[in-house]
């Protein structure tokens, strides 16, 4: 491990001398850079140092199932309605994630521990249970996405499983949050491959611009439409993002002085994620006009988008889309595993920081690697319905999201915790509207599909 130094002085002996832990010393090193950048007015340096949790949460949520959802939506409905809808859902995500960043920066604590301590063990463990369940399902879907991308290059499920697990083990070694964050941030920028893929399928840009003016609600099967709406919402705001951004903001050492930059970080992440998400939708939309929406013909249980895109738009677009799926799945495996680890550490009450060594934060590191290992093992099961897993993972996330968001709003309004950084009234109005919006769409799909399944109403 590299020695911890600032301004030529080793931090470890000083930290030990004043009774600080190794984790404090490591965080202090990162904060010394922020301190000096701020003192010397180096604004770009400050932005570079403080960027991370917001971009990672947003681009991490542009994950495998989300990109498959967007492509499925494009292949089913084209660009109309859903292009602006994606933009709106990311605007919702920015509002929600800004609250998480702010609570993490002001309280220096993660979401799980605050809910557990402030509102009692019942709500804390419910939140952790929701997260553990949705994270496992979502992680399976991430490995599915890696598998779908790799299948295009004739690589099998074992390679996809191994890649995800090796990445988790590699990034969490080193005992530094900063190292973990920068590696994942570097990988996350390749989410832009979906934009390149969209350009390569040569969409009709006039139609895309027209779609931004909100074309009418699409027709077709009501249940499919609800599934894609709920899944698109679940592809943008999810429980793991809440745990992740608040936990990562605290782990990074952000303070109330950094909130302005935290907001920039969150907005930048949201804008990039919306652009790249729309890219996936446009790539998928190329299939609509070429009668290529029949994705099951292209294998992988309905998720064979790269092969379908190759048939319609040629090899380069398909190759880039397949690489994008591998990237999206891999980055999300890292961020979602991390959110599971933060939640486990926070709820059990043990060390939960990448700034600590595995010896001193055993549960944190075990949870991080363990959940990825379980998900990797599940995708090795042959014949799994990959597209269905990917879409339903997003829907489940949307169903459980309102409960998580209510606690975020409660925490962000807790004057004892937040002081002057409590939500403004306008933020509360928007946040409550978002909660109602998510709950209505998720419930509509859940109820409609359930009643159709038990034959109380006709399917479709």
């Amino acid at each position: 491990m590299a020695p911890l130094e600032t301004a030529g002085h080793s931090l470890e002996p000083v930290a030990a001398g004043v009774g600080l832990t190794h984790e404090d010393a490591v965080r202090s090193l990162d904060r010394s850079r922020v301190f000096h950048a701020r003192r010397h007015g180096r604004h770009w340096s400050l932005l570079w140092l403080l960027a991370g949790p917001g971009i990672l949460a947003m681009l991490g949520e542009n994950d495998g199932p989300s990109m498959i959802s967007y492509a499925a939506t494009g292949a089913t409905y084209g660009t109309g309605f859903f292009v602006p809808f994606i933009a709106v859902t990311f605007a919702m995500a920015i509002i929600c994630q800004e609250m998480c960043m702010r609570v993490g920066a002001v309280t220096h604590r993660g979401y799980g521990e605050l809910v557990l301590q402030r509102y009692g063990k019942v709500w804390g463990w419910f939140s952790a249970g929701d997260l553990a369940f949705t994270n496992l399902v979502t992680l399976i879907a991430e490995f599915v996405a890696i598998r779908v991308g790799m299948a295009y290059f004739h690589l099998g499920a074992p390679v996809a499983a191994a890649l995800g697990v090796v990445l988790v083990l590699f990034t969490m070694s080193g005992g530094r949050y900063w190292r973990w964050e920068r590696i994942v941030l570097g990988m996350a920028l390749f989410n832009g491959l979906f934009l390149i893929s969209a350009i390569l399928v040569k969409p009709h840009w006039g139609s895309v611009a027209h779609a931004l003016t909100f074309t009418p609600f699409p027709g077709g099967s009501f249940n499919t439409l609800l599934l894609l709406l709920a899944s698109t919402i679940g592809a943008t705001v999810t429980p793991w993002m809440i745990f992740f951004q608040q936990g990562a903001s605290a782990d990074k050492g952000m303070t109330s002085a950094d909130i302005k930059h935290g907001r920039w970080d969150t907005v930048a992440g949201g804008v990039l994620a919306a652009i790249f998400g729309i890219g996936a939708l446009l790539a998928g939309a190329a299939l609509l006009t070429h009668n290529g929406a029949n994705i099951p013909d292209h294998g992988l249980a309905g998720a064979g988008f790269p092969a379908a895109i190759r048939a319609v738009s040629g090899g380069p677009a398909a190759t880039v889309f397949a690489l994008g799926l591998i990237e999206a799945g891999a980055v999300a495996v890292l961020t979602i595993s991390a959110s599971t680890a933060y939640a486990a550490g926070e709820c059990i009450g043990v060390s939960r920081s990448f700034n600590n060594s595995p010896r001193h934060a055993l549960i944190f590191y075990l949870a991080n690697a363990g959940v990825a290992l379980i998900a990797a093992a599940i995708i090795l099961i042959p014949g799994a319905p990959l597209l269905s897993i990917a879409l339903n993972a997003n829907v489940l996330a949307a169903v459980l999201l309102p409960v998580a968001l209510v606690f975020v709003v409660m925490l962000a309004n807790d004057r004892d915790l937040m002081g002057k950084w409590v939500n403004k009234r306008s933020t509360n109005v928007i946040a409550i509207t978002i909660i109602a919006f998510v709950a209505i769409f998720a419930a509509a799909y859940g109820i409609d599909s359930f009643l159709g399944t038990v034959h109380i109403i006709g399917a479709g």
Binding site: V18, Q117, R118, G120, D130, G419, G452
Partner: protein
């Protein structure tokens, strides 16, 4: 932001009442006192939720569980 100072001279706040965040908090080796591992180990006090708030939270929780069951049931039924 004020300059960092030694931890030994920093008074510790009571664990009974959460400290309100303040701008320009004094720093210990570039960290605010509440960022220290030792401070984060102290639990924030539990908030008192009113009866209506508790009921609303339980309603939302039950709603989420029922809809989750419906989604999972549909997913499993579609598999077979």
């Amino acid at each position: 932001m004020t300059a960092p100072r030694d931890i030994n001279t920093t008074p510790r706040a009571s664990a009974q009442q959460p400290r309100r965040p303040s701008e320009g908090a004094e720093l210990i080796m570039f960290l605010e006192q509440e960022q220290l591992v030792s401070d984060r180990a102290i639990a924030v006090p539990q908030a008192r939720l009113g009866g209506r708030a508790q009921a609303a939270l339980w309603l939302l929780r039950i709603f989420a569980l029922i809809v989750s069951f419906m989604v999972i049931y549909t997913f499993v039924a579609q598999l077979s």
